[in-house]
């Protein structure tokens, strides 16, 4: 293993969940008790050999890990620069990286004796991944989803229902992911005794950003080993899309001490940053406090959260995980934005050239690779996190292109 050349190893957050000035624990008092209970359970079980063995077994045999690290040879040649490897999280059970985290949190819920699981979902991937493990463990499951998202992700809604989950439409606010999160928090504050809230991304109050990251770093740990098997060395760059940022932190985290590995997080520019219709808090937002943590937000001058826009429901969120805010400020990762059109083009390119239909979320990362790869030499290596498969998005894409399915 190539060890880091830096003297001070990256170690975040602090014991109260701070990544520099970001993160922390900003919730109503009623949630302080349950969040403490959760933090203690998480700290205990992440040291518990039985728990970790059970988690490993589930990841191998239920999720299907390790996911391959695939060399996209034709696509790399076409772009004419660096070699691009794809971390195939789309091949996981349920079709995205989300399940790495839901398996972990559901096992934790079981150990804590909780009998009811709730979740919020945007694109529906986290909802499906939660409903899936809830079915697997025989636990009651309620998923909150914005009414707008329910419309654009009908297939995932049906999937969740097939899996036995109750899907509750949220019509308040912008009726998207942030409002689903508000509603899930309200449910949790009302039912804290028996309910476990599985947050789907590396945002929210401590310990969620650290806990979800720890469950997702399997992506980066595998990729780090796999690229050394394939190429005998570490990559030159990592690229992942960032909504809340769980797939990105999962890939990035095991490489943070490897200073020669450049790290790029790709936000959704929507119609374009300059139009204001985007979901790019790191590129175009300001720090603030929302959903239990301090982080960059898309907000107005009065501190009201602004409705975001992205072609991809999974990136359509006004906040971002606090660790990304920190990595931006210290300059360890660079955050860029890709608009709807560029993402759509990458969606088509990968589908036609590699025979892989990527999720629209992941297509943002792929689109940035099409910009970065040609600027790099042919012996350079990029790993792109292909965080999910695009089957769920074919209706959205067809719609945009005026095709009725």
């Amino acid at each position: 293993m190539a060890e880091s050349e830096t003297e001070v190893k990256y170690h975040q957050p602090d014991e109260r969940g701070h990544f520099g000035v970001y993160g922390g624990l900003f919730v109503a008092e009623t949630l302080m008790g349950p969040l403490t209970e959760l933090r203690l359970a998480y700290e205990k079980f992440m040291q518990d050999k039985d728990f970790l063995a059970e988690l490993d077994w589930e990841l191998q045999n239920y999720v299907g890990r390790p996911s391959p690290l695939y060399f996209a040879e034709r696509w790399s040649k076409e772009l004419g620069g660096a070699k691009i490897y794809l971390k195939r999280e789309d091949l996981n059970h349920t079709g995205a990286h989300k399940v790495n985290n839901t398996v972990g949190q559901a096992l934790l819920a079981k150990r804590m004796g909780k009998t009811r699981i709730i979740a919020e979902t945007g694109a529906g991937q986290h909802g499906v991944a939660t409903a899936t493990v809830a079915a697997r463990l025989g636990i009651e499951c309620v998923v909150y989803m914005g009414a707008v998202d329910i419309q654009r992700q009908a297939a995932n809604v049906y999937r969740m229902k097939l899996l036995g989950a109750e899907v509750v439409p949220v019509t308040t606010g912008s009726a998207t992911l942030k409002d689903a999160l508000n509603e899930a928090m309200r449910d949790w504050v009302t039912n804290i005794d028996d309910t476990f809230y599985i947050i789907g991304t590396v945002a929210g109050p401590h310990p969620y950003p650290a806990m979800v990251r720890d469950f997702q770093t399997i992506i980066g740990r595998e990729a780090r080993e796999q690229i050394q098997q394939h190429e005998g060395r570490l990559p030159d760059a990592l690229i992942a899309c960032v909504g809340g940022g769980s797939n990105a932190i999962g890939l990035f985290h095991p490489f943070l001490d490897d200073k020669n590995v450049a790290i790029y997080g790709v936000e959704a520019a929507g119609d374009g940053i300059e139009t204001g219709n985007h979901a790019a808090p790191l590129c175009a937002g300001k720090p603030g406090v929302l959903h239990g943590n301090r982080t960059y937000l898309v907000e107005d001058e009065n501190g009201q959260i602004i409705e975001t826009h992205s072609i991809s429901a999974g990136l359509d969120y006004p906040g971002v995980g606090p660790e990304h805010a920190w990595l931006k400020d210290i300059g360890r990762a660079k955050y860029v934005a890709i608009d709807d059109k560029e993402a759509l083009q990458a969606f088509h390119d990968l589908t036609k050239i590699e025979g892989i239909i990527p999720a629209l979320e992941s297509s943002h990362a792929l689109a940035y690779a099409t910009k970065l790869a040609p600027t790099m030499d042919k012996d350079k290596i990029i790993i792109v996190n292909l965080s999910g498969r695009g089957d769920k998005d074919i209706h959205t894409v067809a719609d945009i292109e005026g095709i009725t399915l």
């Binding site: 624990l25 008790g33 300001k286 501190g303 009201q304």
Partner: protein
Amino acid sequence: MIDHVSRIQARFELRAKEGRKLLIPYFTAGDPKPENAVPMMHAMVEAGADLIELGVPFSDPMAEGPVIQRAMERALEYNVSLRDVMAMVAKFRQKDSETPVILMGYLNPVEVMGYTEFAQAASKAGVDGLLTVDIPPEEATDYVAALKAEGIDRIFLIAPTTSEDRIKAINDASGGFLYYVSLKGVTGAGHLDVKAVQDRVSTIRTLTELPVGVGFGIKDAESAASIASAADAVIVGSVIVKRIEENLDSADNAIKAVSELLSDMRQALDA
């Protein structure tokens, strides 16, 4: 020394001397229209309110039930901002220099303005206290210092799930009074267990010198009176906002409906 520093304390002391309980109504500033706020505040005082809790609209009110969520959405149709709410208080102060006013809302608008800038503006407007639902004392060091410097009282919530250690920490950061949330859940939810509230409040009293107000779930004069047996103040929110919602087309009718409700509660508290 700023002259309104002790408005909250003065009111609690006065009522304690009289053997009466404080009645604290809440409504969302700007619901349904910005110009209704100041007349509503005066009417509330007229109907027996001791202290007014003025809600600051926020786009993502995570601790609110549907009634107050809708009120905030109505106010946000007019883009009612934290600065606008302070301007309403300043206007209220032109005619009422005695009734304490606290702002209740979420941290982000205060955070974006800056704690010190907020505290100075609030003090100038005649605001007496601030309650932001989503800042626990552990995160509030700078916030408490900035508010203290301007004589703005810090009101924090205590929940049924709050440990005694945390009650002490909350007490240390607080000023004015402690706000006990009488049930788990969001504003406007569920049914009250009066005995459980009484038990909790007596525990809280062993850990603080500050007066204790109780809110969340008080629906009528009867529940106000039974909660008042355990507390120094009762805080009433959703049921008032509901009256406003039932009279969206007429500010006069909304004021009338809210005044009737508060008068009933006042009588029940004083009986």
